[in-house]
């Protein structure tokens, strides 16, 4: 099963380390954004969807789903129209993609090739970010993540 970066909102402390890790491993552009909801600060990361809207939206075929499941933006094909940014249902593709230099999250392909985890996951001080297979992680998320009972997860920390 392909591995993905998961955010356990229950553990997130809003330090912004994931964003900094991305910034300093992607030439000063961060693909992990973090925003605030009234109770906490939470990171937004590309989920590398099974059926990605950004791939369908791209007029030039510049975003491709690779064999290992990574949704990768091909630099040379991108015309900078920003369609992917609009299409993304999670709002994780920065509109700054027009600068021709920013990448969408590439799951740190080079680090993966070396057998390491993506930078944001390795850096995360609280263990909120995990790099795991989709099926491995879900059960634990139900147990700790507190999505039981319909309560918002971050209220279940206490």
């Amino acid at each position: 099963m392909a591995k993905r970066v998961f955010v356990n909102l229950d553990y997130c402390i809003g330090c912004g380390s994931c964003s900094a890790a991305c910034y300093y491993s992607h030439n000063g552009f961060t693909n992990v954004h973090y925003g605030s909801v009234p109770e906490a600060t939470i990171p937004f990361i590309c989920r590398h969807c099974e059926d990605p809207a950004c791939v369908a939206a791209c007029p030039n075929g510049a975003i491709k789903k690779l064999d290992n499941g990574v949704i990768k933006r091909m630099n040379m094909l991108c015309v900078g129209c920003g369609s992917c940014s609009l299409a993304c249902p999670f709002g994780v593709i920065d509109p700054g993609i027009r600068s021709y230099t920013i990448l969408k999250c590439d799951l740190c392909i080079e680090r993966l090739a070396d057998g390491k985890e993506p930078a944001c996951v390795t850096a995360c001080p609280s263990g909120a970010l995990r790099f795991e297979g989709v099926s491995e992680v879900s059960e634990e998320y139900i147990l700790i993540g507190g999505r039981v009972g319909g309560q918002h997860p971050i209220f279940r920390r206490r």
């Binding site: 553990y11 997130c12 402390i13 809003g14 330090c15 912004g16 380390s17 964003s19 900094a20 890790a21 910034y23 300093y24 491993s25 000063g28 961060t30 009234p38 109770e39 906490a40 600060t41 930078a119 390795t122 850096a123 995360c124 001080p125 609280s126 263990g127 700790i144 971050i154 920390r157 206490r158």
Partner: protein, 597 residues
């Protein structure tokens, strides 16, 4: 490509990090999973190592003031000029007119070398510019580290009592603290903090105290802890302490701290009943009051409760503990030295590291800088102080020099240069020894420094200190209620370091938090007619500044929070020396607000 390893000094945890180095340049951050403190995890500040090494604005060549501007010079020229000036100043004003200040992010060797340089010159004006919260804590602990608790073992604890906003100032401990809480049913996390921080969101018991009353809260917990304890359980401190605490009435504690005694008793019970417990002290600038008392009360709390207990003090500066140990009893502390300088007693001042003008933006420092005839500043980046300096020297960062640093628990870690410093910059140790050679001394290393052993707490003094807190707080409140109705508390974050003069040069930090703000409670904002933001003029007894408003429910009414990493916020705290401590006061500040149209 080679991976080199080093230590981060952007807080006292001493996390290990790796840097990918290729042909004289740093390419990327590599993590260091074997390091016991952080297991490879890094907070945003850890990632700045890359920027420290690569930054285009780093000072790389000595500069000498030439009329209005600075001109580049060689080391020989700069150091010869400095040596001549030191000799001249010594002849005409005496050796006491020379001052040396180091910031606590220097290696132990450098602090010792600075001390020896001062001795050789014949001056007693040598000090480390600890930040007030670090100094208060170190003073209370007397430079001891109580090192039984290791950061890597935190997960095995059943009860963690946190004072301050731990996850904001030291995010690396988050995983272990959260892990400890979730490890076993019944494990608990107690947080004493006025703000509903991300740390407090995890707490089982969150004691939302009035800002500045942490020592009282702890005294209340201790009081209800020893109330029921037997004579032999309270041990050698027991009787005296018990009698002392009895003299502080419950009402005074609950009134000044804003927490009912029942809640404190519950916290005491939880802490006492747990098998293994730890008190984590994580103070911040302008956040806490009575820090020496706070430190000693936590030692007592750890010693007097049942089971295996300990304390874990954390500091802002990377080598605060090491610097304090290297120069434990300075003849003059940093504020006293600055006072001397503003009185005209110091004619030549050597500053290594911190930009004191942006860290303590106050009239006293400005006056001191104005009074000094010859100012030398050695640092990493061009700063406020280098605009006034007669000689600006380029220093190597801790990633570019060798030496040892002591982390919060007194663990000495060895630094090895990852890369050579930029241009012809040099480590401060080398600058000092070259200067000493030119002055005709040599800075031979002395015998190993001896660590103090055993703890002795002056209970009477401690009780006096604690008992005076409610009075102090009410007096301050009464005196300023009309004029300054709000209480401004320094907020911690993981983005900037200390006064922010270094981190304000860094890309990500400036993208995320380029300028300060002030947080205000929703109801207070309504009262002031601030809907959805705007700007306010914040005024305190020491200064004023205009800050944009953020409205939040995370803080109590009548309290304001602002990040303490900006001079615009620090100037509100001013320069007030605590006569008992002999150092700058650490306290929340009373301010008034005026809405700007």
């Amino acid at each position: 490509m080679v991976e080199k390893r080093s230590v981060c000094l952007f807080c006292s945890l001493g996390c290990g990090l790796g840097i990918e180095v290729d042909g004289g340049g740093a390419l990327g951050i590599e993590y260091y999973p074997e390091h016991p403190v952080n297991n490879g995890r890094l907070c945003p500040r850890g990632h700045y190592a890359l920027e420290l090494l690569n930054h285009p604005h780093r000072l790389y060549v000595p500069q000498i003031r030439d009329g209005e501007g600075l001109r580049k010079a060689s080391w020989d020229e700069a150091l010869n000029l400095l040596a001549t000036r030191i000799d001249e100043t010594r002849k005409s004003y005496g050796p006491q007119s020379i001052g040396i200040v180091l910031d606590p992010n220097h290696t132990n060797e450098e602090v010792e070398a600075g001390l020896r340089l001062a001795e050789a010159i014949g001056t007693s004006n040598f000090s480390c510019s600890f930040s007030p919260e670090d100094y208060g804590l170190l003073k209370g602990l007397r430079g001891l580290s109580y090192s039984e608790i290791k950061a890597e073992e935190l997960e095995e604890f059943n009860c963690i009592l946190v004072i301050g906003s731990l996850f904001e100032s030291h995010p690396i401990l988050a995983k272990r603290v959260i892990g400890a809480k979730y490890k076993k049913r019944g494990n608990s996390l107690i947080v004493i903090d006025p703000q509903r921080t991300n740390t407090a969101l995890f707490a089982n018991i969150h004691l939302e105290n009035r800002p500045g009353s942490e020592a009282l809260v702890l005294a209340g917990i201790l009081k209800s802890l020893i109330k029921g304890a037997s004579e032999e359980a309270v041990g050698k401190w027991g009787g005296e302490l018990k009698a002392g605490l009895e003299n502080i009435p419950d009402e005074a504690i609950s009134q000044a701290s804003g927490i009912r005694m029942g809640q404190l008793a519950e916290a005491a019970r939880v802490f006492n009943d747990s098998e293994k417990g730890v008190v984590i002290l994580s103070p911040g600038f302008g956040r806490h009051r009575g820090l020496p008392e706070l430190a000693q009360l936590s030692i007592l709390l750890a010693n007097l409760s049942k089971g295996e207990k300990g304390i874990l003090p954390l500091f802002t500066f990377g080598n605060a503990l090491g610097s304090y140990r290297a120069a434990p009893n300075p003849v003059k502390t940093f504020p006293q030295l600055i006072e001397d300088a503003s009185g005209g007693g110091i004619k030549l001042l050597l500053l290594f590291g911190e930009d004191i003008l942006s860290a303590y933006p106050s009239e006293a420092v400005q006056k001191a800088i104005g009074q000094v005839e010859f100012l030398v500043s050695a640092g990493l980046f061009p700063s406020e102080i280098s605009k006034f300096a007669h000689i600006v020297l380029p220093s190597a960062s801790w990633l570019e020099k060798s030496g040892t640093v002591s982390s919060f628990k007194g663990r000495d870690q060895v630094l090895e240069p990852v890369l050579p410093p930029p241009g012809i910059a040099r480590p401060d140790l080398e600058i000092m020894s070259q200067l000493a050679t030119r002055l005709g001394f040599s800075l031979e290393p002395k015998a190993q420094r001896k660590a103090e052993k055993g703890i002795s707490i002056d209970i009477q003094g401690l009780i006096r200190g604690v008992a005076s807190l409610p009075k102090e707080m009410t007096a301050e409140e009464e005196g300023a209620k009309e004029e300054y109705p709000y209480l401004l508390v320094g907020e911690e974050n993981s983005i900037h370091f200390a006064d922010g003069s270094i981190t304000r040069n860094f890309g990500w930090a400036m993208e995320v938090l380029p300028s300060p703000y002030i947080e205000i409670n929703t109801r207070d904002a309504e009262k002031l007619g601030l809907d959805g933001g705007g700007e306010v003029l914040v005024r305190s007894r020491s200064g004023e500044s205009t800050l944009p408003v953020q409205i939040t429910d995370r803080i109590p009414q009548g309290v304001l929070f602002a990040p303490s990493h900006f001079p615009q916020v620090r100037c509100l705290y001013g320069w007030r020396i605590d006569p008992d401590l002999g150092y700058l006061e650490s306290r929340p500040e009373r301010v008034s607000l005026m809405v700007r149209d």
